[in-house]
């Protein structure tokens, strides 16, 4: 059992180090992302060996399921420009900084390891409870002692989601917002009488779309409420380019933004 544990640790450690080296050294960012995935999987394996079963599962779900996929999405969205051709501008300064950091941390590591070996005190790990790191024990601690940081982390995630949407929409999204705020002036006057705030009747969508030659079936399909009013639909500005209203979901805004480029 003990030798099996040692072999397991060293296999996971070798995989983790090779994954980290792949992240840093790969020229293609897709390979970097695959190296990150390997590192994450092997660290989840080490978490299992360290009696942190819940954290291992969280690691798999959050990292391998969300973060690496997000990286891959962005890499594929950027296409070939995500891996620009190699040039050696500023290579001296960067190599100097990197090697300085590596030397400093390896020296610190060697000093600590030598002190630990000199003390002849290898800390054998004590026996844990059977439920250490399980979801019931972890959840009990998380919802009793650490409740305040847990709730604060939900606020952090909320702010991050809003900030990510705002930053990814960028200048274009703000321009689209101001255009769609101004857009009632482009609608024919006989329909403007029917407006009430941001809600519009679906007939107007047909009018505007036929006037500018744009098919707005998507906007009608998801925007028509039970009373026949349109809560949310694609607006059309005078050049005939459909602009996003602020309530549009995030993904379509990102995709159109990346395709359209700076306008």
């Amino acid at each position: 059992m003990s030798t099996l544990g040692i072999v397991y640790f060293y296999v996971c450690a070798a995989l983790a180090v090779s994954g980290a080296l792949a992240v840093v050294a790969a020229r293609n960012p897709i390979r970097s992302a695959m190296g990150l995935l390997l590192l994450i999987l092997s660290i989840a394996g080490l978490f299992l060996a360290l009696h942190a079963q819940f954290l291992a599962v969280v690691q798999l779900i959050v990292y391998a399921g969300a973060i690496v996929v997000l990286f891959l999405f962005v890499i594929m969205l950027l296409g070939p420009s995500a891996s620009p051709p190699l040039d050696h501008r500023g290579i001296v300064g960067r190599a100097f900084g990197g090697s300085l950091f590596a030397l400093a941390s390896i020296a610190a590591l060697a000093a600590v390891a030598r002190a630990a070996l000199a003390a002849h005190r290898t800390m054998a790990m004590p026996a844990p409870d059977a439920n250490l790191g399980g979801i019931d024990a972890f959840g009990t601690v998380l919802f009793s002692d650490d409740l305040a940081p847990f709730e604060l982390s939900s606020a952090l995630l909320m702010v991050a989601v809003v900030g990510a949407v705002a930053v990814a929409k960028g200048r274009q999204g703000i321009a689209g917002l101001s255009k769609s705020e101004k857009s009632p002036s482009h609608v024919p006057p006989h329909t403007e009488a029917a407006h009430s705030g941001v809600f519009r009747h679906d007939i107007e969508g047909v009018d505007v779309s036929s006037a500018h030659g744009i098919d707005l079936r998507v906007g009608q399909a998801d925007g028509t409420s039970a009373e026949g009013g349109v809560v949310e639909r694609i607006d059309a500005d005078p050049d005939g380019i459909p602009t996003d209203r602020p309530q549009r979901p995030r993904q379509s805004g990102e995709i159109t933004g990346a395709k359209g480029g700076p306008r």
Binding site: V24, L50, A52, L77, S144, A160, A164, A168
Partner: protein, 111 residues
């Protein structure tokens, strides 16, 4: 059972690799991934120390052993997810403005 030193040494090694990648690479995507490597290394050290220094929990409602390191690692994972979301949004926005993902070409404020 394995003592804690190999875990700590592995963690420091991974942190060093991630730090060198952060300093050397110019591609912003790879820089973000290097930050991920460094945070994973710290998570490993936290969980290993939690496993090696088992103490009774201070929580009134939970009588077992303390989970402080694991809870810390859990919050690091949450913060990291937020960081990646915002960071990739910034990368997309920078690409839209400058058509590049290289960090030294993002010099809008410099010139």
């Amino acid at each position: 059972m394995i003592p804690i030193e190999p875990y700590v040494i592995l963690s420091a090694l991974l942190f060093t690799i991630g730090g060198v990648g952060f300093l050397v690479r110019r591609n912003v995507l790879v820089t973000l991934m290097s930050i991920e490597v460094m945070l994973n290394a710290t998570n490993l050290a936290l969980v290993a120390f939690n496993r090696s220094r088992l103490k009774p929990s201070l929580a009134q409602t939970y009588p077992g052993q303390s989970h402080t390191g694991q809870v810390f690692a859990f919050f690091i994972i949450a913060a990291e997810a937020a960081e990646v979301a915002v960071g990739l949004a910034i990368v997309l926005s920078m690409y839209r403005l400058r058509r590049t993902v290289l960090s030294d070409e993002a010099d809008l404020l410099k010139n």
